[in-house]
């Protein structure tokens, strides 16, 4: 099976690189086109958050398997300022891009699994997972 890809995020060019890598892996694993797009879009948002708030970070994209189900896990890590108010960040006003402008509720909607860890001292890690239909 394909292995993990790690994309260093330092500028907006890397945002494009990260999402293209995500799409590449999804296509290779046989995801339907719609889900590839959802994944690429989610990666784009996470990468963008890194650039905007932490300046530097990394996105790792890797295939996962559970039984006969195949999926992709994306981990967006940075050592930036962290999110002070997590519940506010995940607040979902459906017609807006979501709490604090981070788009995290939206990203959660796009994915099958979503996990957020953030601390003002250590930074932020967002883990998302999408399973193949």
């Amino acid at each position: 099976m394909a292995s993990e890809a790690i994309i260093l995020i330092n500028s907006d060019i890397d945002v494009v690189a990260a999402r293209q890598k995500g799409r590449e892996l999804a296509t290779m694993l046989g995801f339907v086109s719609t889900d590839s797009t959802l994944l690429a879009t989610a990666i784009s948002e996470l990468a963008r958050n890194i650039v905007r708030y932490a300046k530097h970070g990394e996105i790792s994209i890797m295939p996962v398997q559970s039984g006969d189900r195949v999926g992709i896990t994306v981990v967006a890590r940075d050592k930036g300022p962290g999110i002070a108010n997590m519940s506010l960040a995940m607040q979902d006003g459906f017609s807006t891009s979501g709490g604090l402008g981070l788009g995290l509720p939206g990203v959660k909607r796009l994915m099958d699994e979503f996990h957020l860890v953030s601390d003002v001292n250590t930074g932020t890690t967002v883990t998302i997972k999408k399973w193949k239909r």
Partner: protein, 123 residues
């Protein structure tokens, strides 16, 4: 990468050819705004058929574009958003509110014709 901007009568048409970086998108926005003023264009069409992802930045930039061109007297319409891109956008809460959209170039032109005609007949 420069996006080619064509002039068709009173309209400007920008056809995006490949994935754009943030910087390219901002350049496009500014180039269109400038050209609207220069050519006194009445309408702008941005064809995003090729874009496979439209995230919050793209959404915001296009809204800025529509706003800027409106200030200069032109209506902007975004055409060619792919079904799955639209799907992803609304899940993220990006609705391009305040920006007109149409299915494709043909529809975009028809839309602008109707809209600008209305303005002329009123003026």
């Amino acid at each position: 990468m420069e996006v080619p901007i064509l002039k068709q009568g009173l309209y400007l048409i920008a056809s995006i050819q490949a994935a754009l970086s943030d910087v390219d998108l901002v350049h496009l926005r500014d180039a269109l705004a400038e050209k609207v003023g220069k050519f006194r264009a009445r309408g702008v069409i941005v064809d995003v058929t090729v874009l496979d992802v439209m995230d919050s930045f793209a959404s915001r930039t296009l809204r800025d574009l529509a706003h800027m061109t409106r200030l200069r007297g032109a209506e902007t319409v975004i055409v060619g958003i792919q079904p799955e891109v639209a799907f992803a956008m609304v899940q993220l809460g990006l609705t391009l509110e305040g920006v007109d959209t149409a299915l494709d170039l043909e529809e975009g032109l028809a839309f602008l014709d109707k809209k600008t005609k209305r303005r002329t007949s009123r003026g």
